[in-house]
């Protein structure tokens, strides 16, 4: 009930391409779905977040798509850049409280 499953484990994308990372959750009480970006040796930093009352949220090159009926959400990174190379984590929580994280996706953008 508390799991968040994330895929793929790793992803290689050419510069300028689209990076897509998917997550699925089980607990229908979750109402806050953030994506975090983590660089080596650093703590995770919030990238973008969505609530289940909308199906899509876009901020710059980053878009979250949310499918409430399927209990799935995904991160799309448009025009991927080498500087986007990092580990990405999806997460979910109830009321913005303790976060349940996916296992992470290591993204490498080749220049």
């Amino acid at each position: 009930q508390q799991q968040v499953k994330q895929s793929p484990q790793s992803l290689i994308v050419q510069k300028g391409g689209i990076s897509i990372i998917n997550c699925a959750y089980e607990n229908t009480a979750f109402d806050y779905f953030p994506w975090y970006q983590q660089f080596p040796g650093k703590g995770p930093a919030l990238l973008i977040a969505i609530r289940p009352d909308v199906s899509e949220k876009k901020e710059g090159r980053f878009t979250i798509s949310f499918n409430k009926s399927a209990k799935q959400f995904s991160l799309h990174i448009m025009d991927s850049q080498p500087g986007d190379s990092a580990t990405y984590f999806c997460a979910a929580s109830k009321g913005g409280n303790k976060l349940v994280f996916g296992a992470g996706t290591i993204l490498r953008v080749k220049s």
Binding site: K42, G43, A49, R51, F89, G95, G96, L99, F101
Partner: protein, 116 residues
């Protein structure tokens, strides 16, 4: 400083020793969380403090783990009789406001604990 700070940044200890990890949250943030990140894995929730309320300890893996927070300031995570499986990065996060406010959690850089 403007962000969450943690100390030490690295800690190497011998199996069976006790360790204490420190977190300084962002000033004014009432909520504080501890997470554990094992190598190549996602973060696992450990414990949550909100103001003067009783902490949510539901994520602590065993009674060897404990944490304290004085008011809305510094928190310490203590691991007693460390085991090799305790090796991980321990991350602290703070958040303004009360639960339900959907405020961002701001993470510190973590403490990398290695138990030999």
């Amino acid at each position: 400083g403007a962000g969450v700070s943690q100390s030490p940044s690295n800690k190497v200890t011998e199996k069976g020793k006790d360790v204490e990890l420190r977190c300084d949250p962002i000033s004014g943030h009432t909520a504080l969380y501890w997470y554990r990140q094992r190598l190549g894995q996602g973060l696992e929730f450990l414990i949550y403090f909100q103001g003067n309320s009783a902490p949510d300890k539901s994520g602590l893996p065993s009674d060897r783990f404990s944490a304290e927070r004085t008011g809305e300031s510094v928190s310490t995570l203590t691991i007693q009789r460390t085991q090799q499986e305790d090796s991980a990065v321990y991350l602290c996060a703070s958040r303004p406001g009360l639960a339900g406010a959907w405020n961002e959690q701001f993470f510190g850089p973590g403490t990398r604990l290695t138990v030999l």
